[in-house]
């Protein structure tokens, strides 16, 4: 969505330049007439990309407008049925404003037979809603061991304020090349990430500027669970930095972007529009306490209930008057609405642009627009964020992958009569573990005349990210589904438990973020006891539900990334039946922790005490950090697996001699 705003640039005059038009790189580009690709004949790989070439050229056309041509040229060796099936269909990127100039595709079989795809086989699909058009095709005649080759050149509106080019994939690549050509007055800047080599200027090219990157080989990056995989691939980012002709520099800087953002989201409204905004604001916050937090919560609930967020572009979806009237907006439009209403309510806030840290980490040094993909609103008085676009998110709990990351904060400043904006790069602190809690209190006793039957009272409270998937919507869940939902918390201990009674506490959707959603169940079951002679084995660990077990079969490569910080509190109180005692209570004790700077950040600790014939077990678990370096993975695994160990805990109940 941000694209719309960022393309609105109002100062950039390229036409100052007078220079001869140079020949485009693409005029002479072609693939080999007689392709001769090869791989090691003993290779056991299922796929190798033997050529990957990306070329972007910025040019002034006859009208002296800057245009962009981009080419992608790939050759892949496919050596398994599954890989053939994954790569035999190609969808080319294409939009309403772009033009596909060249598109060629062919298959080279193991025996060297070349089969070029005829133009009539290129298919077209359009989507008026998103404005996208797709050209796509299927390769013909691929056999195991064939090479597929295709390249295409697209002419499009120039995108030069920050673009990412990703080289790495899950499989091995050879002959990876990137070139960027620009008119001699437009100076680009580059930055390489995750081991990609530096982009270098090729001074041998005349009449234009030329930068390039070459890799003869690039190993595949294997996917790992709980890893920011896309963010970890080798890639580069480029941006236009200077226009020598106009003597302008810092073209892609966030200073400019901040001004654009401000101008776009905080325009002067007409009197009529302002009246509608004020009316909307008062309707939306009707009944709310007059504190900033209460007002924002109410506003968010109101907008997320009443305004539909549609996909795609369309001016009417970004026009505030239309949005206020029709209650329909797109991603950009909805931010406009929040900005206008918050301003009307005089609630101080900042617009934050950042990236999804799973996809790319916000670079606080290299300013480029490709890091500004997601928007949030920040309230400096409370430190809370909201996500205008994400319906399943609520005040204080923005999409967690947008936090624990840097971001660009744009805020209004007033100097005298003049109002403007400043942008500042700050860290978006993740929500702390003590705000996302899963708390269990379990009281257990044994049926007097049948010790194999247990009566269990389970009280479970979910808050923060753990409650967010349902609490804000709980009034919309059908009674029957809600019953099933509550019961599922009992059934997950064991499918066979009998649920005697159940209730929900704090089931008001507006209590989300204020009080936890609580489920209280009375359960009877004989699933937790196994009889062994005159002893009983009580599978007490199963009362906390099945726990994840992490295996490690190879060395961890990528850092581990959790979505959000969290804590689990569990208290189990067991009434010891008369005439019996627990023989192995010390098995309860588990103590695993991992500290950093003397602060406990990961832990699982279980212990007990006995008082008045009741065994009180505590089993608490904390994850006070999201991102864990791969060297520390084992410690993380230990903590996670401790909970899985506890889940296997069996207490032996034996008669007192």
């Amino acid at each position: 969505m941000i694209k719309n705003i960022l393309s609105i640039s109002f100062f950039f005059l390229f036409t100052l330049i007078v220079q001869a038009q140079s020949e485009s790189f693409f005029n002479s580009y072609n693939w080999d007439k007689n392709p001769e690709y090869s791989v090691n004949p003993d290779s056991t790989e299922t796929i190798i990309e033997v050529k990957n070439k990306v070329v972007t050229e910025f040019l002034f056309d006859k009208e002296d407008d800057l245009v962009e041509f981009t080419m992608e040229h790939r050759v892949l060796w496919l050596n398994s049925d599954e890989k053939i099936e994954s790569f035999n269909k190609v969808y080319l990127p294409y939009s309403l404003t772009s033009e596909l100039l060249v598109n060629k595709a062919r298959v080279i079989t193991k025996d060297g037979v070349v089969k070029e795809l005829n133009d009539s086989k290129i298919l077209l699909a359009t989507d008026e809603e998103t404005g996208r058009k797709y050209k796509y095709f299927a390769f013909e005649g691929i056999e195991k061991g064939s090479f597929i080759e295709y390249y295409y050149v697209v002419k499009q509106n120039p995108s030069y304020r920050g673009k990412r080019v990703t080289f790495q994939s899950s499989f091995k690549k050879e002959n990876v090349e990137f070139d960027l050509f620009a008119p001699s007055n437009l100076v680009f800047k580059f930055k390489s990430y995750n081991g990609a080599p530096e982009v270098e200027q090729d001074t041998l090219t005349e009449d234009k500027l030329h930068w390039k990157l070459r890799m003869s080989e690039l190993e595949g990056l294997e996917e790992e669970e709980l890893a920011a995989y896309d963010a970890s691939k080798a890639f580069i980012v480029y941006k236009l930095d200077k226009n020598l002709a106009g003597n302008v520099s810092g073209i892609s800087s966030y200073g400019n972007v901040s001004q654009n953002i401000y101008a776009y989201y905080y325009p002067e409204h007409s009197k009529r529009t302002q009246k509608s905004i004020d009316k909307f604001a008062s309707e939306a916050t009707k009944g709310a306490e007059k504190t900033e937090e209460a007002l924002v919560r109410k506003l968010e609930f109101y907008i997320k209930t009443n305004v539909y967020i549609a996909d795609g572009g369309g001016e009417e979806l970004e026009d505030l008057d239309k949005i206020l009237d029709q209650k329909v907006a797109n991603g950009t439009g909805i931010v406009k609405l929040y900005a206008a209403v918050l301003k009307s309510l005089e609630i101080p806030h900042e617009v934050v642009f950042t990236s999804n840290r799973q996809n790319i980490k916000f670079d606080k040094v290299f300013e480029a627009n490709n890091f500004l993909t997601d928007c949030m609103l920040y309230f400096p008085n409370t430190g809370a964020y909201i996500s205008p676009e994400e319906n399943s998110s609520r005040y204080g709990f923005p999409p967690a992958y947008l936090t624990d990351n840097y971001g660009l904060f744009v805020k209004e400043v007033t100097v005298g009569d003049f109002t403007s904006a400043v942008g500042e790069i700050k860290y978006i602190e993740p929500v702390s573990a003590d705000q996302t809690i899963d708390k269990m209190t379990i009281d257990v006793d044994f049926e007097e005349n049948d010790l194999s039957t247990t009566n269990i009272k389970l009280d479970r409270a979910l808050s923060g990210y753990y409650g967010m998937f349902i609490h804000p919507f709980i009034h919309l869940v059908k009674e029957e589904d809600l019953d099933n939902f509550v019961e599922s918390f009992g059934k997950r201990l064991n499918e066979n438990v009998e649920i005697i009674d159940k209730k929900l506490v704090n089931d008001d959707p507006e209590l989300f973020g204020i009080k936890p959603l609580k489920l209280v169940l009375d359960i009877k079951s004989n699933a937790f006891i196994e009889k062994a002679g005159n002893r009983y084995l009580f599978k007490v660990g199963e009362l906390i539900g099945q726990q994840i077990q992490l295996y490690q079969e190879k060395e961890r490569v990528l850092p581990l990334e959790n979505e959000f910080k969290r804590s689990y509190y569990r208290n189990i109180n067991i009434e010891v039946p008369a005439g019996y005692r627990f023989a192995n209570l010390d098995d309860i004790n588990i103590d695993k922790e991992y500290s950093k700077d003397r602060e406990e950040i990961l832990s699982f600790k279980s212990f007990y005490n006995v008082e008045d014939g009741i065994v009180h077990i505590t089993a608490d678990e904390h994850y006070r950090i999201n991102i864990i370096e791969s060297e520390r993975y084992e410690e993380y695994r230990d903590v996670i697996n401790s909970a899985a160990d506890f889940n296997k805990l069996t207490l032996i109940l034996e008669p007192v001699e």
Binding site: K89, N391, K478, Y568, A643
Partner: protein, 653 residues
């Protein structure tokens, strides 16, 4: 860390949960209509007030012309209304969209005010197949909120009289008024097939007016249909009528269109009779000769051709207009190395013919289509094409769109279905595809275990056959690294609990079409046994497979499985030195019409031999059958809790 909550909910359930948004605080008053239906359907998110379908079927110059008109009027009963704002309508080459009008109705100051939808956006639907004519028209209802209504009026031209739309009397929402009308030239004859309408009160009328016959069905107040996982297709549950144009009189002559399956077959045949008339591609001829060289029997030859096709012709479907019914030329499929089900059937037919063998093009409906050819002799009855081959009176149903399918297994999703087998012009037969018996789809596992303190060490050999094997292979094909492979086996072969860890493994017959897949592996389960004092407690039920087949007590619909299955686990425990057996649980033998299961413990010197096996003899279970199966599983669950006790020898008093 607990397995995350969301995992427990099926994606459909999620949809119900994350439907939408939150309370709007009494800002608009609601209409009396709203109050009525909110009281009547307190749990519904919306109620369809009105659903009218009117179909005009005319006869002009001997051609049947069909125009379908639809009216849908909905009332939104809670705050999830906004979530319904984005809507779409589908159309295609056979269903040409004519007019569309949509608007929201909001209750303002005592009456409903209309807000018209202004923008309609067309979109090629890429989700269904690689290339087809499916399009959708997308639009957004403005201002939707609790208490709003929407009205949608549209019409479409049906371009082929065989594609008359069925009419459903119920839906995922309650429907108040439901009316279905066909106004047809009296020279056109119909059959109306009713499905699942037994408990429904339908008011039907038939009248003649100005040379037209008017048929009307009306139903009031149908309840909403609840989705359940693994439930049969909605066509098996929802009440509906399929109107069929059987024949028409044109200038005194009766033209049969879809009187019976013979008419359907004649049409199908007309679409395939001209394929593969080109000269055979030389490469294809050579290939067939190579594949069949040295093969003694017809069966072996067909097998070679069938397996080659499965391996080498990839699935890509082109379904543009009648292209969805006409197979492509075998030569073409051979050159491209891809095709859809019809194209695969076409190349198989040709390859068999080059080998001097007879294959038969065969139309078939997958299991989610509940109709028989005699009930519904229209294209609605099927959706798939395969090739039949009959050898010594046994018919093989060859579906080359898959991979790893041996000759004797039809695709699981056509088991028990009628196959319409072409035998030339005007000649066909209908034959039922067999349901593959449970034992053919089996997991057979033999495990030797020893104890090392509380840890259990084991060595297993698992043999996997039939559809199970296909499932394993399809998963394994997507796994590219050794560590992911091991992870997969850790999950699939888990024994005891999730401390189960495979240490090393070796595979035999991986990706074999005919042989059983065999995996040998060593594993450990830390802390699985319980050593206490002089005793060791151990639960030998390492695989409690039967428990997965238990259904919820309050389930409303049948449950469907992909195939019948069987398993057989033998576990041999080496009694640790210095110990002897103190307690061995009783054997269990359970069976009913659907499940046969047992657990057996035998003592053999210093070994305990445990065996657990079960045959799951069902593809679907109705509610009564589910209860029976659940009762049996509950018994088995008790047996699963039984443990053996080992005791130190010299300590016995």
């Amino acid at each position: 860390m607990e397995k995350f909550i969301l995992r427990r909910l099926s994606s459909r359930k999620l949809l119900f949960f994350i439907v939408a948004l939150t309370t709007c605080t009494g800002y608009s008053q609601y209409s009396p209509e709203f109050d009525t239906y909110k009281t009547k359907y307190p749990n519904a998110k919306l109620v369809r007030l009105n659903q009218e379908t009117a179909i005009e079927v005319g006869l002009k110059n001997g051609e049947i012309e069909i125009l379908q008109h639809f009216v849908e009027e909905d009332l939104y009963l809670d705050e999830s209304a906004t979530y319904n704002s984005g809507q779409d309508l589908s159309f295609s080459a056979f269903f040409e969209m004519q007019e569309v009008e949509a608007y929201s109705l909001n209750f303002e100051r005592g009456k409903y005010r209309e807000y018209k939808v202004e923008n309609y956006k067309e979109k090629d639907d890429l989700d269904r197949s690689f290339y087809d004519d499916a399009k959708s028209l997308n639009f957004i209802y403005p201002k939707l909120e609790k208490g709003s209504k929407t009205k949608l009026v549209y019409s479409e031209k049906v371009k082929n009289p065989r594609f008359l739309s069925p009419f459903f009397f119920a839906d995922f929402t309650p429907i108040v008024n439901n009316k279905f009308t066909i106004t047809a030239d009296k020279n056109i004859n119909f059959e109306f097939r009713k499905f699942n309408t037994d408990s429904l009160e339908i008011i039907f009328s038939e009248e003649e007016k100005r040379g037209n016959k008017i048929y009307t069905w009306e139903v009031k107040n149908t309840e909403e249909y609840d989705y359940e996982s693994q439930a049969p297709n909605y066509k098996s549950i929802l009440p509906h009528i399929i109107p069929i144009i059987t024949s028409y009189n044109n200038n005194g002559q009766t033209v049969n269109l879809q009187n019976d399956v013979a008419d359907l077959y004649d049409w199908y045949y007309s679409l395939v009779e001209n394929i593969n008339k080109e000269e055979d591609d030389e490469g294809l001829v050579k290939l067939v000769n190579d594949l069949t060289a040295g093969k003694e029997s017809d069966f072996e030859k067909v097998k070679a051709i069938y397996y080659w096709t499965q391996n080498n012709i990839k699935y890509i479907d082109f379904e543009y207009a009648l292209g969805g019914f006409i197979p492509r030329e075998a030569n073409d499929v051979y050159q491209k190395k891809y095709g859809d089900c019809k194209d695969n059937s076409s190349i198989l037919l040709k390859m068999l013919s080059i080998a001097g063998l007879q294959g038969n093009l065969t139309w078939i409906g997958t299991r989610d289509i509940p109709y028989s050819y005699s009930e519904v002799p229209t294209p609605m009855v099927d959706n798939h094409m395969i090739l039949s081959f009959t050898d010594q009176e046994k018919t093989y149903f060859l579906d080359a769109t898959g991979r790893f399918m041996p000759m004797d297994l039809p695709s699981s999703f056509i088991q028990g279905k009628e196959a319409l087998i072409s035998e030339g012009k005007g000649k066909f037969r209908i034959q039922e595809v067999p349901v593959i018996p449970a034992k053919r789809n089996a997991i057979v596992d033999t495990t030797h275990i020893t104890l090392a303190g509380d840890a259990l060490e084991g060595k297993s050999r698992t043999k996997i056959s039939g559809y199970y094997k296909l499932d394993y292979f399809h998963n394994l094909e997507n796994i590219s690294t050794a560590s992911k492979n091991q992870e997969f086996y850790n999950a699939m072969f888990q024994k005891g609990n999730n401390k189960f860890l495979i240490k090393d493994f070796s595979e035999s017959n991986k990706y074999s079409y005919d042989e059983n897949f065999v995996v040998d592996y060593n594993f450990g389960i830390d802390g699985y046994a319980k050593n206490f004092g002089e005793e060791i407690y151990l639960n030998l039920n390492l695989n409690k497979e039967l428990s997965f087949f238990k259904t919820e007590d309050d389930r409303k619909h049948e449950i469907e499985y992909d195939y019948k299955s069987a398993y057989n686990y033998t576990t041999i425990l080496e009694i640790p030195e210095g110990y002897e057996l103190e307690y061995l649980p009783e054997n269990v033998q359970l069976s009913n019409d659907y499940v046969t299961a047992s657990i057996n413990y035998t003592r053999d010197n210093n070994q305990i031999i445990y065996n657990h096996k079960a045959d799951l003899n069902f593809l679907t279970l109705d509610l009564k059958q589910q209860k029976e199966v659940n009762t049996l599983i509950k018994e088995m669950d008790k047996a699963y809790q039984e443990i053996i006790i080992l005791k130190k020898i010299n300590s016995k008093s």
